[in-house]
């Protein structure tokens, strides 16, 4: 990988100069919570200063820019001669600035499902291909985040540029030719020994401050053995089946497809909408039979997919440890607590 350094001021120039021809998304403060903690979201910005790159975490992940909550897959047009089907894909470029390692790792995991498996998905690929990703290393431990426990506290690919704050300048990992060409528009320097040392010492500080809080390596086996465990009932009874966890998750990708007929019967939109395996009718089939009518089986299934099913297929858990699901959960269900409970069950 190529490494460069740029002045912080130059990043601002890079974004501000190009804002007229490309949409830019970044972390913006949208309010504060009851305890006074600032709340951030990835939102379009109109100038570099709209963003706060020092943010700790966003409430929602940036997934929505690749897997929108609602997306029209195709449109059927009806006339006297029958029907035709129109399919369009995204063609407009955009930049997302300020993704943390967890979010980039989330995208890498989504790539495995939507870009690399058979049946690659053109809707996802066209969004991915039209998005320049400028990541940035976080240096504050976000509330409850367990990225280091799950191995998503380092990032090697999935971005175009990745910035690490080293004082008045950024240490830049260049992840793609697009990123390389973008850098060419500003003053860019090769890294000096001082840059390297500064980067490594930052990295060391970061690694020593991010402690492992939960063990996940034994989960694929444990989830299988503890399939009938009482622990699921305990957490399932708390779950309100609202699906908020899946909405904010950087990797949850399951969806449902509906067709919506227009009022004049002239067209019908086949619409994909992100779903959640915790919603009641997730596994309901025609005729009304529901394969997972109980809350606990649906909650269990979410963990089973993230920490066993995905591991079987791709050799790593789907979870990136961002802890967003825990922050948003109305019932206070925390993934590290659920996982520890399952492990306790095993030790008993």
């Amino acid at each position: 990988m190529l490494y460069k350094t740029i002045d912080k001021e130059d990043l601002k120039n890079l974004i501000d100069v190009h804002l007229h021809d490309v949409e830019c998304i970044g972390p913006r403060q949208v309010g504060t919570n009851a305890k006074g903690r600032p709340l951030y979201q990835f939102l379009p910005v109109s100038s570099f200063d709209d963003m706060d790159l020092d943010y700790d975490t966003t409430e929602y992940s940036a997934k929505t820019y690749f897997l929108p909550y609602k997306e029209v897959l195709s449109t059927f047009h009806f006339d006297d001669s029958g029907w035709t089907q129109d399919i369009t894909y995204r063609k407009h470029p955009r930049i997302i600035v300020g993704l943390h390692r967890c979010d980039i790792n989330g995208l890498v995991k989504l790539d495995k499902v939507f870009a690399k498996e058979f049946h690659p998905n053109p809707y996802y690929l066209s969004r991915r291909g039209n998005t320049l990703i400028i990541g940035i290393g976080c240096h504050k431990h976000c509330e409850g985040g367990f990225c280091s426990s799950i191995g998503s506290d380092s990032v090697t690919h999935g971005f175009d540029l990745f910035l690490t704050d080293i004082g008045d300048r950024y240490f830049v990992k260049v992840g793609s030719d697009r990123g390389f060409n973008a850098l060419n528009k500003i003053n860019v320097r090769d890294i000096s020994d001082e840059d390297r040392n500064q980067y490594l010492s930052n990295r060391n500080n970061f690694e020593s401050s991010f402690k492992k809080t939960v063990k996940v390596e034994n989960l694929p086996n444990l989830l299988d053995i503890e399939f009938e465990s009482e622990v699921w009932k305990k957490w399932g009874d708390k779950c309100m089946s609202c699906g908020s966890c899946a909405m904010v998750c950087p990797t949850c990708y399951c969806y449902g497809v509906t067709e919506n007929l227009s009022m004049d019967f002239k067209k019908s939109e086949k619409t994909k909408q992100l779903y959640s395996c915790n919603l009641y009718d997730f596994a309901q089939v025609a005729g009304g039979h529901n394969f997972r009518p109980a809350r606990e089986t649906r909650l269990k299934y979410r963990y089973y997919h993230q920490h066993r099913g995905f591991v079987e297929t791709f050799g790593q858990p789907m979870c990136v440890g961002c802890n967003r699901c825990s922050r948003v959960c109305l019932a206070g269900i925390n993934p590290t607590e659920v996982i520890r409970d399952i492990q306790m069950e095993h030790g008993r």
Binding site: D21, F78, G82, P93, H119, P122, K185, V257, R308, E312
Partner: protein, 302 residues
């Protein structure tokens, strides 16, 4: 000034594999494309089920369309929705495909109102299949309960068309009552074929019924096959194939030679929407056809 980002248009990408197959990566830009197909004939089977004969409108697309018994297709009814349906016909019949469909939901109810000449959409085929090649030279047990005869009719037709490749064939079919029996006009024909035995059993007989009465496992009492030279395909509700497969296991047929077809709600057919996930497998890409050993190891499958 030069732009920082250039638009990326995926429609300029070439298809990834030649020749185009329907089942895998080849149609990158067309994963959501439904190929127009005409309903050429509708056969009423019972009050609830109809058999639809369907053929793609475009001849080139139709020539390339191939499938294997056990696979399914996503059938699109524009304006209503898309549903996964198993093939009920043999792939060697080149004139049409046949889909046996029960009236049970929004899309199927609309489909039951459709008339000959109606244009629907097809996407697929998807999924795993019954390994008919591997079964050649062996005895075959084909066992169906209820609507399970719909997917089972594909291997039945395949076996009949390639009669010389298989040893003795037993077809066992159980239904709730005589009015539920599917494809009853074909029993006579199947039974007359050399060394193919068809037995039908119902749970609730009416006055006209002269055949056996009871559960499907009762029919297995009279079946004697050499277990090491026999394959079985079992289609039906989970409770039925669980009993049947355990019985076959007791008879000594290896679990990896028993194949079942599972059903789940599907929204994509391509391993993306997760709706058909069982344990850690997708019914659409790892299934719908599983051997019974795999099913035993899937959480929540039965």
């Amino acid at each position: 000034m030069k732009k920082i980002m250039h638009p990326y248009d995926i429609t300029h990408e070439t298809d990834m594999v030649e020749p185009l197959d329907y089942n895998r990566q080849s149609r990158l830009k067309d994963v959501d494309r439904s190929f127009k197909a005409e309903i050429t004939n509708i056969i009423r089977l019972t009050d609830m089920e109809k058999l639809f004969q369907i053929r793609m409108v475009d001849d080139n697309d139709w020539q390339r369309f191939t499938f294997l018994p056990g696979q399914f297709v996503m059938l699109e009814l524009p304006g209503y929705g898309e549903i996964p349906i198993s093939f009920s016909s043999s792939p060697t019949i080149k004139s049409t495909i046949e889909l046996c469909i029960r009236k049970t939901g929004k899309v199927t109810e609309a489909l039951h109102r459709a008339k000959r000449g109606g244009i629907v959409g097809l996407r697929g085929p998807f999924g795993t299949y019954f390994p008919m090649e591997q079964m050649k030279g062996h005895n075959i047990l084909l066992i169906a309960g209820g609507l399970g005869l719909a997917p089972l009719r594909a291997p039945i037709s395949y076996v009949i068309e390639n009669r010389a490749d298989f040893q003795n064939v037993n077809i066992l079919y159980g239904a709730r009552d005589p009015s539920n029996l599917l494809f009853d006009y074909q029993y006579e024909q199947w039974n007359r074929i050399d060394d193919i035995t068809l037995q039908v059993i119902v749970e609730n007989p009416n006055k006209a019924w002269t055949g056996p009465v009871g559960m499907i496992t009762k029919l297995l009492d009279d079946v004697t096959v050499p277990p090491d030279q026999t394959y079985a395909i079992v289609c039906g509700p989970p409770i039925m194939f669980k009993f049947v497969c355990n019985r076959l296991n007791a008879m000594g047929i290896p679990m990896q030679r028993m194949f079942v077809s599972l059903e789940r709600r599907m929204h994509c057919g391509m391993g993306k929407c997760c709706r058909c996930n069982i344990g850690s497998s997708y019914t659409c890409i790892d299934g719908p056809v599983f051997d019974f050993w795999t099913v035993m190891n899937l959480k929540e499958a039965i």
